[in-house]
């Protein structure tokens, strides 16, 4: 009973905190916290040549899974479909889709070209108004069919919500194996939905906290490969690694600047740690904080004018914002407990964080001025949020307690709804979401 009341109170709290954004034609409001998902019919992609068994079906399932996973769409079970589409050029019998309560219909047809190229033509129909909302053609190599499906899902999402999509993205993370007292940690990357996981390092060196560059071509991360923990950059194309500047002590907590030309990170200096900015073109470094405290976890605002970071200068970890040159430091977190791992939303509106209070670890968001704090998930240990490129969804990791416990990655809407486990081959932590890829 008590949890029920708490649930209702949370819903009311969320509703009170609504901010309205302009809506698209079919009235999906991303901020509504998923109360009424939009019914959409996604038949198997028409494949007249049928060169690759089930490809048409598989593409349609990935699109449906993406859209359902957003919590904003309800893909209707294909068994309910009354009309069998035979060609993309054939106009659907809208009545047969209205009967099964579909409000939108995604029809698509694929054909095969030389050199393993596939072409897909698709149309998104407003079943009620009986008109096409999107008509598009895409081509790609056959083995990139999942990416193709994600691009289509992003287009549908954008057309119907007015928000940018986030399905054609990757997530860098740390793949964990071995006992808790001697975890093997490797740099890894996967599609946003957990498919195509790929290990990037051998596990000989302890690695932590990978973060994507804005063009999603590089990762900046922490490695113990030369003994001392230092910040490195890994290029996903060349698979080459290099150290970011030579510093006398430990460098850690790195992130790229929004233009990708600088790295911001912490340098340990005796008992304290301070924040530095490193220019990647000339390796010039600039000091941004200069106190004997622990100043770390810096993250730029998307306009690069401000930096949010955490400091224990007040006695506990709290969040502060400073100008990009280090001036004008102001504290923004004032709730009970301590605050850590701030990350600025790519939209600029929110800052996501880890909050520690009464022995519990929570993920929350607040506005950039510190107002409107809202806890999204609360438990034994939740840590390290990362933003989807549209600033509407977060991933974070959740660690279960005890000797056999470990970390798993979850995604959740910023409304707190629609929490999902991202399935990984083993334990996984420190997720970092890429920008849109295509």
């Amino acid at each position: 009973m008590r949890t029920k009341i708490r649930c209702i109170l949370t819903v009311i709290a969320i509703l009170l905190l609504q901010i309205r954004y302009p809506q698209a034609a079919l009235e999906i409001n991303v901020n509504d916290g998923n109360l009424k998902p939009l019914p959409i019919a996604i038949p198997s992609v028409i494949d007249k040549q049928g060169l690759e068994k089930d490809l048409g079906f598989d593409i349609s399932r990935v699109i449906a899974s993406d859209l359902a996973g957003s919590g904003l769409f309800y893909p209707i079970n294909p068994k309910a479909f009354l009309e069998n589409l035979n060609s993309i050029s054939q106009k659907p019998n809208f009545n047969s889709w209205r009967v099964i309560n579909a409000e939108t219909l995604l029809s698509a047809e694929l054909s095969y070209r030389e050199n393993d190229i596939v072409r897909i033509d698709y149309r998104l129909w407003d079943v009620v108004a009986e008109k096409a909302l999107v008509e598009q053609t895409l081509t790609t190599s056959r083995n990139k069919w999942r990416s193709l499906a994600h691009v289509i899902a992003d287009t549908v999402y954008t057309r119907l919500t007015g928000e940018k999509g986030y399905f054609d993205t990757k997530v860098a993370f740390i793949a964990e194996s071995g006992p808790k007292t001697n975890r093997i940690k490797r740099l890894a990357i996967m599609d946003q939905d957990g498919f195509n996981p790929r290990l990037l390092t051998t596990g000989n060196d302890l690695v932590l906290t990978p973060r994507f560059s804005p063009n999603s071509e590089d990762l900046v991360y922490l490695s113990y490969r030369n003994g001392q923990p230092q910040v490195y950059i890994y290029n996903l194309e060349s698979k080459q690694t290099y150290v970011v500047g030579s510093f006398p002590g430990m460098t850690f907590a790195p992130r790229f600047s929004p233009d990708g030309k600088k790295i911001i990170m912490s340098l340990q200096e005796g008992v304290g740690s301070n924040i530095f900015e490193m220019n990647l073109s000339n390796f010039e470094r600039r000091r941004l904080t200069n106190t004997p405290d622990i100043n770390t976890a810096p993250s730029y605002s998307p306009d690069a004018k401000n930096i949010v970071f955490e400091s224990d200068k007040s006695g506990t970890q709290q969040l502060y914002v400073m100008d990009a040159n280090g001036n004008n430091v102001r504290r923004i977190s004032y709730g009970t407990g301590s605050y850590s791992t701030p990350v600025w939303s790519p939209r600029g509106d929110y800052i996501a964080f880890t909050k520690i209070s009464k022995g519990r670890f929570m993920i929350g968001v607040m506005f950039a001025d510190g107002s409107g704090e809202r806890i999204i998930t609360d438990g034994f240990h939740n840590e390290g949020p990362t933003w989807a490129p549209n600033g509407r969804v977060l991933m974070f990791f959740r660690e279960s307690p005890g000797e056999t416990g470990g970390a798993m990655i979850y995604s959740v809407d910023i409304t707190g709804y629609n929490e999902k486990l991202i399935e990984t081959p083993g334990f996984a932590s420190d997720p970092s979401w890429s920008t849109l890829l295509n």
Partner: protein, 169 residues
Amino acid sequence: MIYKKALNLSVTFLLIFILTGCASRQKIEQVLFGGGNDNEADIVSNAIPGSSQDFTVNVGDRVFFATNSTSLDDDAMAILERQASWLELYPEIDIIVEGHADERGTREYNLALSAKRAEVAVSYLESLGIGSERIETISYGKERPVAACSSEACWSQNRRAVSVVIADN
């Protein structure tokens, strides 16, 4: 009035906390330094003087910290004093001081916190006359716990600075 009550309550908790903290530390010392167990007494007598085993078993290679703290308590200072005496006895031996944190913190903060723990231990060793050129530090944050359970019994063992002897034979 309410404030007073809250204060009383927090003082009580603090006391309980300190007391339980002390209890677990005693346990650890028993484990580390013998405490009447025959096998451990054997190790003590078998350790080659000047070896890392000698250092670990007969001197004590680690000091412990309270939650989120980087302060050395009396026990920690006593162990570091023994480490300093031993290092004076074997001037050819260098050490690395590893800083560690328990799992109850965020990753990057814990790296900085455990670096601070290592630095605090090193500063004390240096104040006792050990040359800074003989000591390196490395920070592991919460990445290398020695005890895997998720309760204070393990966390108190993981909040530590460990002096590791280099050049051992």
